[in-house]
Symmetry: C2
Subunit: 247 residues, 2 copies
């Protein structure tokens, strides 16, 4: 009997060309499907909660798949993990109804953006964006208040092919936490446009270093114009932290 499994997965984005299956480029989806193929008689496709771009990390990406091997969650997780490379690991597994859909039923996502803001620390070079200028956190927090809530985020989206799509999104949380030499920006919402978090992150960084004003952020947002924002933070500071499903 087929069972649907929902898995949580962490991966270090450094050596992946993103989540999405594609020829000629190492990606997370293919890695996991190849691991499943090692102990399934048929090829099992997985469905992710969404894509992550090249170089972006995940601590709480989710995917679902169907299997008729009747394994317990613990067995399934162990079987996948022992067939995965060291930069991707399943961290949790549960059985869900066959009507459950990993992407369509996601109600909330959290992305974190991490910055090494202080003396350069080479141990953070693949996990944090290094920003030499000391950022003004208060200014960044002021600017973030403009972005929280429901807005048309066309300015903060790189996807030119989707211009006719609805680009209204809701940011329910945008928190900026400073600890010693590290800044953590937390973005939460139901969904995000392509590059949206990275473009907002870099925009807030530019506010923090005084290169643009809070008024300019307001103007950029109101412009609803793809050419109004040229900022896009490097992928290696970005983490998909959590995908939530309400019962």
């Amino acid at each position: 009997m087929k069972q649907r499994y929902l898995a949580t997965v962490a991966y270090d984005g450094k050596d992946f060309w993103g989540w999405q299956s594609q020829h000629h480029h190492r990606n997370v989806q293919d890695c996991i499907e190849e691991a499943l193929a090692k102990f399934h008689p048929v090829y099992v496709e997985i469905v992710g909660s969404g894509r992550t771009d090249r170089g972006v990390h995940a601590k709480g990406q989710r995917f679902h798949f169907d299997s008729d091997l009747n394994m317990t969650c613990h067995q399934m997780m162990a079987a996948i993990n022992c067939n995965l490379p060291e930069d991707v690991k399943v961290t949790a597994m549960e059985v869900v109804p066959s009507s459950f859909h990993c992407r369509f039923h996601a109600t909330r996502k959290r992305y974190d953006y991490l910055i090494n803001n202080g003396p350069y620390d080479l141990f953070l070079r693949n996990s944090h964006l290094f920003v030499k200028d000391i950022l003004d956190i208060q200014q960044m927090r002021q600017a973030s208040l403009l972005l929280i809530g429901e807005h048309d985020f066309s300015t903060f989206c790189a996807n030119r092919t989707s211009e006719k799509e609805n680009q209204v999104r809701t940011i329910t949380r945008l928190e900026i936490i400073k600890t010693d030499h590290t800044i953590q920006m937390i973005f939460e919402g139901k969904g995000f446009l392509r590059y949206m978090v990275r473009m907002l992150a870099q925009t807030l960084i530019e506010v923090g270093r005084g290169r643009i004003t809070i008024d300019q952020v307001q103007e950029m947002l109101e412009a609803k114009d793809k050419d109004a924002c040229r900022f896009n933070a490097k992928p290696y500071g970005l983490y998909l932290m959590e995908v939530h499903y309400e019962n």
Copy 2:
């Protein structure tokens, strides 16, 4: 006029076969000497405060060298760093008297050993030893008290060729700090034998997981026998943190 420079350097040990210059294997010393060669008319040799083994990291290794380019410390540091790969960077530079010696004058060194003790975190896989069993910190601290102070550490030394050397060393600090899912062990002393910190670290881990008793640690230490300890913690959890010089 020749000037002697004292530099502090950080490196990610992952892709280095240790500090020491050697043929056919990438090492930190050669990397730095090659960087210096890029802007010196003669080959400049550097003297490290001591060696670190293959895979061991450093946040505060020190080395000295002589140059007659009459550059300021800031200029010298920038010139070296722009010729270094991304996994090694000079973090501080000062001018010292020509009588100063980086190894002979070191009065104290600090090594840290880092453990991922909790859910496996793949982002820590190259920087922390993963220990699945939850360690008993109180037991580890009890055992560490036996090791602090002046002892013959022959048991905790892998160097069979130096049997006639004095193997008495003094540990002035051995602190074990637990934060969330991470354990940090801090070792300080004037000097350490080869593998000593890693052997002590793994011995304390074995105490923490209940595989050996505190009495057994005492017996091992008193045995002064190279065959009395078979434990040696992986190099990628170890960091040379600081080298001190008293004026």
